[in-house]
Amino acid sequence: MVVKQEEKSVFDREELMTGTDAVAEAVKLVDVDVFAAYPIRPYTGVMDRLARFIANGDLDAEYIVADGEHSQFEIGKHASSVGARAFVGSSGVGWLYAMESIGVTATDRLPLVALVGNRALDDPGAFGVEHNDALLVRDLGWLLCWASTAQEALDTTLIAYRVAEDPKVRMPAAVAMDGGYLTHSQHMVRVPTKEAVRDFLPTYDLGNRRMHPDNPVSIAPQVNEDWVMELRRQNYEAAKRSRKVITSAYEEYNSIFHSDYEDPFIEETNVEDADTVLVGMGSAAVVARSVANEMRREGKKVGFLKIRWYRPYPTDEIRKALSNVSNVGIIERNFAMGAPDDGAITMHDLQSALYDSKNHPRVVDFIAGLGGREISKKEVRKMFEMTADKKSPKVSWIGLRE
């Protein structure tokens, strides 16, 4: 990558990094005060690197190894409530073990940022990617997004802090990425300077809610039916407001770091004039984009739409992008047993977003890549072909051994 002369000041260097290295670098750049840890692959990658930063004197932070994920997330939540910028993370069943804490971090409206290194919910034992872990928080008041490259992992972590801590939002944010495919793959990443990140990300300030000896407050008191509904409405509005905050965060990120995030929420590859579009999240995007470009070169009118932010859901963006498309297929790295039409999770959100739009594209669903099973070029091509074929079933399993 060519770094232009005037860009030099905002970048420190380019380095070969895994997705977890990139996240650790971002955590260092936002100058976290508290890093809570409990080992699980692939979060261990972030732990390793942050431990080294602290040991080398590159970062001054509390590194707290908890006795399990539940405590780890509690540590993050409490740190956040006293005005400390904190980072946590886990994957698969580790993330689930922390679920009680994850739920209340959202209802406490604390802007903690977490990494979910997507991993199958074992049993049976499996490290490979599935998105069910992260998707479990889609309705809990967490902001939720997927990174599909190491660069995006770094950028998105920085942006997640900015959005989460914004006084108009103050919601926790989860940055998800595919275990294995992104977390263990090394690519070149442009690393911003500390100064430039400081310009982008204001100091964390929880305002009147900050728990401090000089500001004694009791967080999460017993309120029962007196206040809960009103609190939910506050949270609901904050989630709505977060769309605008995300948009302006990306605008500023683009202008400071010369990145080219055209739309913060979705990323389109040849979608504009396509008849057939595949939609997906995470690292499958890398293969899907490559195939979409290849098929374009063959003259086929296909495109790929990557969803980056899943909460808040990009309703308008999806409607706009897919309203003139005839066939939409969704690559789902998740499952939803017994759901409507027996489809997986993201189909239902996508269909309901499209329901009120004028043109309904035909929507089919592909359950693929579960438990880390590869989604190869051949399979993406097959999904494009099946999506274009009006006779193909509503839901298909791709890459399954029959």
């Binding site: 070969l16 895994t18 692959r41 692939p42 261990t44 049993d123 049976p124 490290f127 490979g128 275990g179 294995g180 495919y181 977390t183 263990h184 793959s185 090394q186 690519h187 070149m188 890398v286 293969v287 984009r289 490559s290 195939v291 470009n293 290849e294 070169r297 063959e298 880390g372 590869e374 989604i375 190869s376 070029k377 399954l400 051994r401 029959e402």
Partner: protein, 392 residues
């Protein structure tokens, strides 16, 4: 425009031992990508996700991919959509005991080290042994390929500690020799000099380039190497839920008397194995009791046989054995088979002791008591004489 031609693609595999060589392997697979970038090539690397690099000695692999004409995204789509690769143009082996085979996880059997090498590809091994000795332990191929030996002992260090004995840059120099299409030696040496700010490291890379010895392995050279095809049933072919058949309880005195998991033997984790002088054994039970992998089979005469198929070479038994020289860890490559040492001993005690002392040799590798310092070599003068009648 249709893409008809196969894109230019080089796949490199770095085989290393969990913990001891994790950092080393990451240095190599990362640096080789940087070097290729210097020549304007597209390149990236990844680690095999299902490996256990945080476990002692477990065979693990990193990969790096290079192309002259693909974009990074297209290269990734082409090369690494899956977690393992099936073919490699360059196979790097950081510890020569891995030529005895790899069993990275259960159900796949013990795979030959040269499983993935393609026709005219190259297997580059860090070793002080002769090519013929190594080829004699590798799988017979239907096509010719090359073997390259970079002189040197396997470089081992701890999980956090990186032992900078220049193996990293020496391997880079050797790669430049065997696969100059990845990066030339000048590119490698310049990159090393600037990255490590060290003329010595650059010189080491150049020296390795000169030292590495490349020879051809003809089709049919090597040994037959049967390994099971993993059983991967269709979704209707197994019972609902998931379970695998457990190992039946079973216990008999004597060699191979205990039932162990036939689908995952773990023995390829070892770089050294315990050699037991049964004639010195006091039957204290400590080796049997302490072995973390339950490798010892008790025998009716109170001795403990070793099942080498399951031994991970951790050295615990040698540490706990209270009798000097009774259990000594010996380089795994010195052994031809996994046969029961107890059976050998019972057949001919005198010869067994001679055989054991011969394997042990006079140079003893002793792990350093301080982690990360490698090992020390101590000389043992004369092997203790065989005392007849100690054991009935």
């Amino acid at each position: 425009m249709m893409q008809t031609q196969k894109p230019h693609l080089i796949r490199l595999e770095v085989n290393y031992r969990g913990i001891f060589q994790k950092t080393l392997a990451y240095h190599i697979s990362g640096d080789v990508v940087y070097a290729a970038h210097k020549e304007g090539k597209t390149a990236f690397s990844n680690g095999r996700y299902s490996d256990d690099p945080q476990r002692n000695g477990i065979p693990c692999a990193n990969f790096a991919y290079f192309s002259k004409d693909l974009t990074e995204e297209d290269l990734e789509a082409e090369a690494s959509a899956s977690m393992d690769i099936t073919e490699a143009e360059v196979v790097v082996v950081l510890d020569d005991t891995m030529v005895k085979g790899l069993e990275p996880w259960g159900g796949y059997g013990i795979r030959p080290i040269n499983e993935k090498v393609v026709k005219d590809g190259v297997v580059l091994i860090v070793s002080n042994r002769k090519p013929a000795d190594l080829i004699a332990q590798m799988e017979k191929k239907k096509f010719p390929y090359r073997i390259a030996i970079l002189p040197g002992e396997a470089s081992f260090a701890g999980l956090w500690y990186f032992k900078d004995d220049m193996t990293d840059v020496r391997v880079l120099g050797a790669i430049a020799k065997v696969a100059p299409e990845i990066a030339s030696i000048d590119t490698v040496a310049n990159y090393v000099a600037s990255k490590y700010k060290s003329k010595e490291k650059a010189a080491a890379a150049r020296k390795a380039y000169e030292e590495v010895k490349v020879s051809t392995v003809n089709a049919g050279e090597g040994i037959d190497w049967p390994y099971p095809k993993p059983i991967l049933p269709g979704w209707k072919d197994f019972d609902e839920g998931v379970y695998v058949k457990g190992v039946k309880r079973g216990f008999q005195m004597g060699p191979r008397g205990q039932n162990r998991n036939p689908d995952f033997k773990r023995g390829t984790s070892k770089t050294q194995r315990p050699v037991v002088r049964f004639d010195l054994c006091t039957k204290c039970t400590l080796c049997w009791y302490d072995c973390p992998d339950e490798v010892f089979d008790p025998t009716t005469d109170g001795l403990y046989d070793v099942n080498y198929e399951y031994c991970t070479g951790c050295g615990r038994c040698a540490e706990v054995c209270p009798v000097e020289d009774c259990i000594v860890m010996v380089d795994e490559l010195k052994f031809e088979n996994q046969d029961s040492p107890y059976v050998l001993y019972k057949k001919d005690p005198e010869n067994y002791v001679k055989w054991a002392e011969d394997k042990k040799g006079k140079e003893r590798l002793m792990p350093s008591p301080v982690t990360g310092k490698g090992s020390t070599v101590s000389k043992v003068e004369t092997p203790k004489p065989f005392k007849k009648g100690v054991v009935k």
